[in-house]
Structures are given as structure tokens and as C-alpha cells.
């Protein structure tokens, strides 16, 4: 199993990444339907996500950015091509192995409905570990809870938490197992700017301070600005990428994306 505890939690700096990518795709296609009605959501994508880096995937609606993330995160099966996550060839795995892969090596933050309504915040945070039958690292748990300021809310049920608090709990859950990679699908899509800043700040911090690898799908340039690198999708292909993005540069690039 991918025991991430060997990786030191003290790696710092924006570019202290390993040479090998934590996740990569080759010639990835995803086709819905067939014949004339076929829709190519992904039309041959090659991409590497660097370990210890925060990558944002951007693109207009229908560009294939969400499909790319779902295929990379073992939530969707590609039509062709290969996906390797943390050294594991995802395309060869059956449901049970895929489930274990998601459980042990991947963290998730979705746009909404991230939490199990019957469980408390604390129980939601440790859920992936509980499902795996593993104990949470107490020090790590305290650190995560502390950074996210969730201490007073741990006993609350999701419906007693604000949207921002819910997303912070989701972020804590994504990180608690020290996964090889965290996939965040529009994590701030439903949040106000202040809550968005809190969540994105935490993701940034987890990369900087703990060397976490993160891939985030977003359509907000301001969110993409938190990333180390932005890749741009259009019509099922990767069309460009940008390092050290700022909101303005991303916005400019997005405006011209449609002209390609």
C-alpha cells in the first residue's frame, strides 16, 4: 500500500517537487455515444502532474476539464489511453482495486455534498481512514484541524455547518490520510469570496508546508492564481499551460482561449 508517512511533512518551498510525476495520462480519450452522435470529451490528452505541486485545470464549459479529472481520479473509465496514479496503472484495475486506490492514495474535495449528513465533522474527517480500518495519526489530525480552525465544530453535523465550514471539513478529510494526490473539483464553486480564500489558502499551505500534490478543476481565475501551474483545456485537448499564474494573466489567457 502507499504508505505516505515515509514522505517527510517538512518539505517546503514552491518547487521542491520530485522528478517523477505523481499522476500522468497518455493519449487519453473519452468518447460518449457512438457514430455520428459521438462526443469526444477528451480527444487525446497527455499530461503529467508533478509531485508536491498545486495544479489547476481550467477551461470553458464542455472543454473536458472535469472529465480529465474524473479519469485521473479513477472515478471514470477512459475510452482509451493510460492513467498512472502514484505508480499504479489505473486502466488495468477492477472496481475493488480502484476503490482501494481512491481510498488510500487519493483525496477528494467536491463542489458540494462532500459530507455524510449522519456523521459529525470529526467522523467525516476520519471517514477514509475508518473505512480502511486504519487509525488516524493523532499529531497530523490535530495539525489539520488546527490549521483549518475546525476545533469548535468537530462535534457538529454537516447541516449545522456553514458552506465554508463544510468545505474545510472536506479539505481536512482529503488530507487526513496523506494521500499521494488530492483532486478538488470546483471546491469553491458554491462559496463566497472569504470562504473561498480560506479553503484555497489551506490547499496552498498543504502544498507548501507538507508537500501535498493537488489537482484542482476551477473556472475562477482568482482560484487558479493559488496554483503553481495552470493547464488550459479546450475541446477535449490541453491547449496551453502557465506557471506562476496570477488572476489577471489567467483571465487574459481565458479570454483568448475561445479564439484558438
Amino acid at each position: 500500500m502507499s504508505d505516505t508517512s515515509s514522505r517527510t511533512a517538512t518539505v517546503t518551498g514552491r518547487h521542491a517537487a520530485d522528478a517523477t510525476p505523481v499522476a500522468s495520462a497518455r493519449a487519453l480519450t473519452k468518447v460518449y455515444g457512438s457514430g455520428d452522435a459521438a462526443v469526444h470529451a477528451l480527444a487525446g490528452v497527455d499530461v503529467d502532474f508533478t509531485r508536491g505541486e498545486f495544479t489547476a485545470i481550467m477551461g470553458p464549459s464542455g472543454s473536458g476539464k472535469s472529465t480529465l479529472m474524473h479519469c485521473m481520479a479513477a472515478l471514470d473509465t477512459p475510452t482509451s489511453g493510460t492513467v498512472v496514479v502514484d505508480g499504479v496503472d489505473v486502466s488495468t484495475l477492477k472496481d475493488a482495486a480502484l476503490t482501494r486506490l481512491r481510498r488510500d492514495r487519493i483525496g477528494f474535495v467536491f463542489q458540494s455534498f462532500n459530507l455524510v449528513p449522519t456523521l459529525s465533522a470529526a467522523e467525516n474527517i476520519t471517514l477514509p481512514l475508518d473505512i480502511a480500518g486504519r487509525k488516524a495519526d493523532v499529531g497530523w489530525y490535530d495539525t489539520v484541524v488546527d490549521i483549518l480552525g475546525l476545533g469548535p465544530r468537530l462535534g457538529h453535523r454537516p447541516n449545522q455547518l456553514s458552506g465554508g465550514q463544510q468545505q474545510r471539513v472536506a479539505a481536512a478529510r482529503a488530507l487526513i490520510g496523506r494521500p499521494a494526490i488530492v483532486f478538488a473539483d470546483e471546491p469553491t464553486g458554491n462559496l463566497d469570496s472569504r470562504s473561498s480564500a480560506e479553503v484555497l489558502g489551506f490547499l496552498r499551505r498543504s502544498v507548501d508546508e507538507f508537500g501535498q500534490s493537488i489537482v484542482m478543476v476551477t473556472h475562477e481565475p482568482s482560484a487558479a492564481a493559488y496554483a503553481d501551474r495552470v493547464v488550459f483545456c479546450a475541446d477535449g485537448r490541453l491547449v496551453d499551460e502557465m506557471r506562476r499564474p496570477t488572476a489577471e494573466r489567467v483571465l487574459d489567457r481565458m479570454k483568448t482561449l475561445g479564439d484558438l
Partner: protein, 844 residues
């Protein structure tokens, strides 16, 4: 709105089908009971309508009200028939020479089925009702003619030699002919014997119970009655053949009426349980469609329209369920006919479906479904469009408490109604009141149960809650206490009834064992598996067997005690202590002579003490003042009110020998002489008993087993029928879980995304299901034991003296309910694991 209704039905087809199934099972009982009743009617109508050859019947008066009353006349002299035949306008007058006649079949055992009678008739070549099919008529005492269906069942053929036991006397005979009276035998066996033999066996004292009269061509039954009337002696009566037929039919229908009542009770139970499920399903369907219904309201549908659209859906479900129920009911009736045939030996023909059956089935199905759906429909219409967006409606705890109070109030009321019936304070309409009381208790507990469901389900799942899977299951089971409780309540009803019945059966078995152990002193018992009763002659034969010290046959006869009806028996005070324990309360049980011993209850009834004199008439004997020599404890083996000496008994019953095989006994207790080997004596007694084909020789343990076997047969039937209510309840669990899966699609998707494996998901659902079913079983067992114990306490005086709680059954029920929970979860869990993770988490 009609379109919306149809769309609703289509959209939730599978769930509605499950609900339909609940309606189907309930209405099947209604349809089945009507079809069975009608087939009973038809069978007996056929028997009696064809009995037209008899115009008038001269007979002893039948007093339906107290059958124990001794008749004024011992019987009708056979000679009277000849006198009647001599009258102008009378064609034939035949004394009814009939009694028991057992035929030994090809396999060496008696030809009989269940409790159907084995009848012997005198062969009368002139009887127009009997037609010879093969061979010839009876001409000698060692010849018999056998009825067509009887011969078929015996495996014998005309010309075969076999044994016939006429009124308890075995003799070797040859079958010389096959005949039919063109009537359904309904399972009875019929053998025609020589007239002289019939007279000797069936009318040893020269009297019969009735004389059948046929008038000359063209005369009406009334004319024949008028012709015969002057010859009818005091104490006898003459009625038309039709009256006789009607009367017999009525008696039989009353006797079999319990089958119908029984079935209707089960129909009630099944529908009651079904109503829970229908209610549950519609509540959930409506909850799921809150948005849709709120939208309908928002675009201008009135509350009434929303209610009507949900109700219309319920009516469709009710109609479909009832239609299937009708079909299933006919099948159920067919199965029950087979059961009736094997239990009572009664062959019913046809499965008549009358308009009334169809109407009743549909009305019941539709009304129950609609009533169960009214509340959810009203609730749906009351939902404000804004509230429709809310996902999780937590129940305020005050509501739970109010409901608990209301529910417990209702349950208490129901319990009070039950208590009033059981303590005989309500005697009018006792059964409906009792049923309503039981239903009120169930409903009350069901309403109150959400309050207890939380702690109980929490406790049940606590040991598992340390794992993520267990915790998820626990939270889900606790999520909607009202739904969990309603689902569990459906199971509760069936389990409670099973529990109550099992307490009664266990207590009955224990009581019988207790009686045998405490009262039976003799080593062996000669017993007949069922009716007909054992001829007294057997006792005399057994008494002569080497090594037998004494026997107790306990023949009984109606008697009068100070003018009240009573039951008289005879015992020999000398040998009694070696055979049966009888405990004297007052006086001594050393001798009887011309005196009597009274049972405690009889003594109380007439207010007599030892030394008092009471007016006693035994059978048709003289009334005489007799001294009470002893008052004994009521005995279960000797069920008499008054015990007299053998001489007194014989004097009173001398004229009654021919009455309906009277003198027959249920069993003969045998005392093996000191120093004799019980096993050897048993063999010799068995040799004697063997000639009677149906008798077996048992020791005390086997005797207990035989007595309780009958209880267990009836209970087996009860369990089977109650089992159906459990099936319905299980469907309810499946339904609830299936709906939960739909409701929790996104949550399940999320769990799967973050790593819950399919087996883990299955386990989660299974635990939730088991928690629900075990909770229902716990409620049911608690309630059932309470019912059972209450009933047993009430029946202590009727022989159910020992309370026995069948703990193994309780354990089996609880374990069984867990198994049911596992099974109920299979399909919903499978569906849950098939949910497309990506779609579940990406769709809003």
C-alpha cells in the same frame, strides 16, 4: 391531474409493485376465505339437495341448545317402520341402521382420512338411492358392498377378502359388490353390510334414532308428514326430508364456519400488516416527490388536487393488488381444500368465484390502500413550496413524545378492551371487540415506537459502531426513527402473534405433560389417533390380557344432577388408584355403591357437600336421590361431573347402546400387574389392539406426545398462516431499504468515491436492515409474550394450568428476524452497489 397520476405510477413502478404485493397478499386471504366458504356451501348443498328420495323423517327431537341433555325416549322401535310402511300413501319406511364400519385396505391399515366418518349402512336391495355398479348385493353376514370412492381409496377390488370392523367388532368379509349413492362422500368411507348384522350391531336393543319415509308417487313431503304423524310416538317427531336436509346442512356449516372465521382473521392480520407497508411506501414516495408536488402546487394545483392525485395512485395500486390477490386467493383456497382434506378428511369440489367474492376483494384492497395513503397525501399537500427544498426533516423531539403518549394511550385502551373480553365482561360481539383491541394495541405501540426505536436501535448496533461501516449503518437506522419504527412495526405484528401462539402451545403441551405425569398411574394407554372412538369392548378384551391388572375405559353419558345437565362416568374404586390419580377434597374415594362422587366444580354448581343427597339421572335411567360420598378435585383425565358405580352406569345406559356409537371411549388406561414385564404385556395388548386397525398402545411419554401432536398440527397451520404476515413485513423492509437507496444516491456515491468498497456498502445496508428487523422482532416478542401470558392466565381453568414460555422459540424468532433482515437487504444492497459513482456525485 390524471396524467400526473399515471406518470407517478410509471415513475415508481418497482416500488409500487412491492406495495401491490402487500395488497395482493392481504386480499388473497379475503378472496381465499370466500372461495373456500362457497366451495363448502356447494359441496354440502350437492349432498343434501340430492337427498330428495326421503319425504319425511321420524326421529327423536334434536335439542341444539344443550346436547348433553338426555333424550326422553331411548329410541324408535324398529317395528314402527313396518307400521308406517303399512299406511296408505307411504311407499317405504326404513329404520336408519347406521353406525361405524371401518374397512381394512389393501395395505393392511384402516381406510380413512382425517376426521371424516367411517360409516356402515344396512344393505337394502330396494333402496332407490343406491345403485350397484359391479358385482352383486350382500347376501350373508361375511359379505359387504363397498361404495365407489371408498373402494378406490382402499386399493381393493370386488372379490377381495378383507376385514371390516362393524361398531367395534372385527370380522372377515368378502367384497361382493361396488355401489354408489351418487353423492359426494366428502371424504367419508361407506360400507354396506348385511341387514341382520347391521341390526345386531347398530340397533342391539331394537331401537333406532330415525326412520326415513318415502311417499307414493306424486305425494308432497307435507302430505307424507301428515300421513305419518298419527303413528309418531310421544317424545318423537316427524319432519319433512327438506327440513332435515336444511338442518344438517346448517349444522355442518356452523361446524365448519370456524374455518371461514379463521381465514377472515388472517385476512385482517395480513391487511393490517399490509396497511403499514402501504402507508410507509406512500409516505416515502410522497417525501421523495415533495418537490414535484410542491411544484404542482406552485403552478396552481389545489391542495385537493394534490391529495386526489396521490389517492388516485393508491387506488390504482389497490386495484392491481386486489386483482392479483383474487387470483392468489383462488390458489390459496385450493391449497386449503387440500389441507382440509388431509386434516378433516373432507373432500370439497370446485373453486367457485362468486360476484360477492370479487366485489369484497376489490373493495377491501382499494379501501385499505386508499386509507393508508390518505395521511401521506394530506401531508404532501400541506408542504409549503419553500419547504420542499429542504432535504433532511428532523423530527422535533416534542412530536416524538406527544406521539409516544398518544400511542401508549391507544395501546392501553386496546389492552383494556382485550381484558374486558377475556374476563368475560364483554360477551356480545366478543370477537370483533377483541380484534379491535388487539389492533389498537398494535397501532398504539407502532405510533409510540419511534420513541423507543432510538435507544433500542442504538443499543443493538452499539457493538458494531466502532467500525466505519457499523457507524454508518447505525446512523442510517437512527436517521428517520418514524420510518424505522413503521417498518419494524409491520414485522412486530406477525412476530407478536407467533409469540402469543407459541406461549399458548408451549403451555398447552406443558399442561398435558403435567397432567399425564401427575394423574396417569397406569403404565400403558390404548389410544386411537382420532375419532371414531374406541369401542368399549376393547377395554374388556384388554382386561383379559395376561399381566393386565386393571383397565380404565371411562365411557361417558349425559346425566342430570339436581335438574342440571351434567356428564356422568363410571370408575371402579378398587382399581382406580393404580390407573389414575384422583384427589379427594372431602369424603373418601374408597367406594361408590349406590352413591356418587362429585367433581369440585359440579359440587359447587349444585351446592352439595359430602353427606348431602342429590337427585341424579344417569343416561335414560331412573332419577334417584343419591348420597354424595366424596368431592374430588377436577381431573383432566376423568372429565366427569358425577361418578357412579358400574352397575348404576349400566342401568342408566342399557337403552342407549345403539346411540351414535355411544359407549365409545377416547382411550383405555392399562395397569400392568406387579411382577409382570411391562414390555411383554405391551406386546400382548398390542396384539389385541391390532385387530382394530386404528389403535395403538402407548406409554406415558408417547401418550403425551400423541395428545400434544394434535395441538401441534393446529399450531403448524397457524404458524404457516402467520408466516405470510412475516413475508408481507419482509417486503416492507425491502421496500423501505430500496427507497432509502434512492434517497441516498448522492451520499452513497460520495462514500464510494472516497473509498467505501462494494462489500462494505452491502454490509452497511445489511446491518441497517437487521437492526430494523430485530427491533421489530423485539417489540413483537415482548408484546407476544405479554399477550400469551395474559391468555394463559385467563385459560388456567380451561386446562392450561402450566405457564411455559418457549424460550427456544423466542431465540429462533429473534435469530430468524436477523436472517430476514439479511435477506431483505440483498436486493436493495445490490442496487446500491450498482449506483454509478460519477453520476451520483456530479448530478444535483
Amino acid at each position: 391531474m390524471w396524467k400526473v397520476t399515471l406518470a407517478g405510477v410509471r415513475g415508481h413502478l418497482v416500488r409500487l409493485l412491492l406495495t401491490c404485493l402487500a395488497v395482493t397478499l392481504g386480499t388473497a386471504f379475503v378472496a381465499g376465505s370466500f372461495v373456500l366458504t362457497d366451495s363448502l356451501d356447494r359441496t354440502f348443498s350437492a349432498i343434501f339437495s340430492t337427498a330428495e328420495s326421503t319425504d319425511a323423517v321420524v326421529r327423536l327431537p334434536q335439542d341444539d341448545d344443550d346436547e348433553a341433555a338426555g333424550p326422553e325416549l331411548p329410541g324408535l322401535e324398529i317395528g314402527l317402520a313396518e307400521d308406517i310402511e303399512g299406511l296408505d300413501g307411504v311407499d317405504r319406511a326404513v329404520p336408519q341402521l347406521t353406525g361405524s364400519a371401518l374397512l381394512q385396505g389393501a395395505d393392511g391399515t384402516a381406510v380413512r382420512s382425517g376426521g371424516a366418518p367411517s360409516q356402515g349402512f344396512a344393505w337394502d336391495p330396494d333402496d332407490p338411492a343406491v345403485r350397484l355398479l359391479d358385482g352383486r348385493g350382500v347376501e350373508a353376514a361375511d359379505e359387504v358392498v363397498v361404495e365407489e370412492t371408498t373402494l378406490e381409496r382402499s386399493g381393493l377390488a370386488v372379490g377381495d377378502e378383507t376385514v371390516v370392523i362393524v361398531n367395534g367388532t372385527p370380522s372377515d368379509v368378502t367384497i361382493v359388490g361396488e355401489a354408489t349413492n351418487d353423492l359426494p362422500t366428502a371424504g367419508a368411507t361407506v360400507v354396506f353390510v348385511e341387514a341382520a348384522l347391521a341390526r345386531e350391531q347398530f340397533a342391539p336393543t331394537g331401537v333406532v334414532q330415525s326412520i326415513l319415509v318415502t311417499g307414493v308417487e306424486g305425494s308432497t313431503q307435507e302430505e307424507v308428514v301428515a300421513t305419518v304423524a298419527p303413528l309418531v310416538p310421544d317424545g318423537a317427531e316427524v319432519i319433512t326430508g327438506q327440513q332435515q336436509a336444511d338442518e344438517t346442512q346448517r349444522t355442518l356449516q356452523e361446524a365448519l364456519g370456524f374455518v371461514t372465521t379463521f381465514l377472515l382473521v388472517f385476512a385482517g392480520v395480513a391487511l393490517f400488516v399490509g396497511a403499514f407497508i402501504i402507508f410507509n411506501t406512500f409516505t416515502m414516495l410522497v417525501a421523495q416527490r415533495t418537490r414535484e408536488l410542491a411544484l404542482l402546487r406552485a403552478v396552481g394545483a389545489s391542495r385537493g388536487q394534490v391529495v386526489r392525485s396521490v389517492l388516485a395512485e393508491a387506488v390504482l395500486v389497490g386495484l392491481a393488488g386486489a386483482a392479483a390477490g383474487l387470483g392468489l386467493g383462488v390458489g390459496l383456497a385450493a391449497a386449503l381444500q387440500a389441507l382440509v382434506a388431509s386434516l378433516f378428511g373432507l373432500q370439497l369440489d370446485g373453486l367457485p368465484v362468486q360476484p360477492r367474492t370479487v366485489v369484497a376483494t376489490f373493495v377491501v384492497g382499494v379501501v385499505v390502500t386508499a386509507v393508508a395513503a390518505v395521511l401521506p397525501a394530506r401531508r404532501a399537500s400541506a408542504t409549503a413550496p419553500v419547504a420542499a427544498m429542504r432535504d433532511d426533516q428532523a423530527l422535533p423531539s416534542t412530536t416524538v413524545r406527544t406521539r409516544a403518549a398518544a400511542g401508549l394511550g391507544l395501546a392501553a385502551g386496546g389492552a383494556a378492551a382485550m381484558a374486558l373480553v377475556l374476563t368475560d365482561r364483554i360477551t356480545e360481539n366478543a370477537l370483533p371487540v377483541l380484534g379491535t383491541g388487539v389492533a389498537a394495541v398494535f397501532l398504539g405501540i407502532a405510533i409510540a415506537s419511534p420513541a423507543v426505536s432510538k435507544p433500542v436501535v442504538w443499543l443493538l448496533t452499539a457493538p458494531l459502531a466502532r467500525t466505519a461501516v457499523g457507524r454508518l449503518a447505525q446512523r442510517n437506522a437512527l436517521r428517520n426513527p418514524r420510518r424505522t419504527a413503521a417498518t419494524a412495526s409491520a414485522l412486530m405484528v406477525g412476530v407478536a402473534l407467533v409469540g402469543a401462539v407459541s406461549v399458548l402451545s408451549s403451555s398447552a403441551t406443558a399442561s398435558v405433560a403435567d397432567i399425564v405425569e401427575n394423574e396417569l398411574e397406569g403404565e400403558l394407554v390404548v389410544s386411537d389417533g382420532g375419532p371414531p372412538t374406541i369401542p368399549v369392548g376393547v377395554a374388556d378384551q384388554v382386561a383379559r390380557v395376561d399381566g393386565v391388572a386393571a383397565v380404565l375405559a371411562l365411557p361417558f353419558t349425559p346425566a342430570e344432577l339436581d335438574g342440571d345437565d351434567a356428564l356422568a362416568m363410571t370408575v371402579d374404586p378398587g382399581t382406580l388408584p393404580d390407573l389414575v390419580t384422583l384427589t379427594a377434597l372431602e369424603g373418601s374415594l374408597d367406594e361408590l355403591g349406590e352413591g356418587v362422587w362429585l367433581s369440585e366444580s359440579a359440587a359447587e354448581e349444585v351446592g352439595a357437600d359430602v353427606g348431602d343427597s342429590v337427585l341424579v339421572q344417569v343416561g335414560t335411567g331412573e332419577s334417584a336421590d343419591r348420597e354424595v360420598l366424596a368431592v374430588h378435585e377436577d381431573s383432566q383425565i376423568i372429565g366427569s361431573d358425577v361418578l357412579v358405580s358400574a352397575d348404576v352406569y349400566a342401568a342408566g345406559t342399557a337403552d342407549l347402546q345403539s346411540r351414535d356409537g355411544s359407549g365409545g371411549v377416547q382411550y383405555v388406561v392399562v395397569d400392568v400387574a406387579d411382577g409382570s414385564d411391562v414390555a411383554e404385556v405391551r406386546e400382548r395388548v398390542t396384539d389385541v389392539a391390532a385387530q382394530y386397525l386404528t389403535l395403538s398402545v402407548l406409554d406415558a411419554g408417547e401418550f403425551t406426545g400423541e395428545q400434544t401432536a394434535q395441538i401441534n398440527t393446529v399450531l403448524g397451520l397457524l404458524y404457516a398462516l402467520l408466516g405470510l404476515s412475516l413475508v408481507i413485513a419482509t417486503l416492507g423492509v425491502v421496500n423501505t431499504l430500496a427507497l432509502s437507496v434512492v434517497e441516498r444516491t448522492r451520499e452513497i456515491g460520495l462514500l464510494r468515491a472516497i473509498g467505501l468498497t462494494r462489500p462494505q456498502l452491502r454490509r452497511t445496508m445489511t446491518i441497517e436492515s437487521v437492526a430494523t428487523t430485530v427491533f421489530g422482532a423485539l417489540l413483537g416478542v415482548t408484546l407476544g409474550l405479554a399477550f400469551g401470558v395474559a391468555l394463559q392466565q385467563e385459560l388456567v381453568d380451561d386446562g392450561l394450568e402450566v405457564l411455559s414460555v418457549p424460550w427456544p422459540t423466542v431465540v429462533v424468532v429473534l435469530v430468524g428476524s436477523a436472517v430476514v433482515g439479511v435477506l431483505a437487504a440483498v436486493l436493495p444492497a445490490w442496487r446500491a452497489t450498482r449506483i454509478d459513482v460519477l453520476r451520483a456525485i456530479t448530478t444535483d
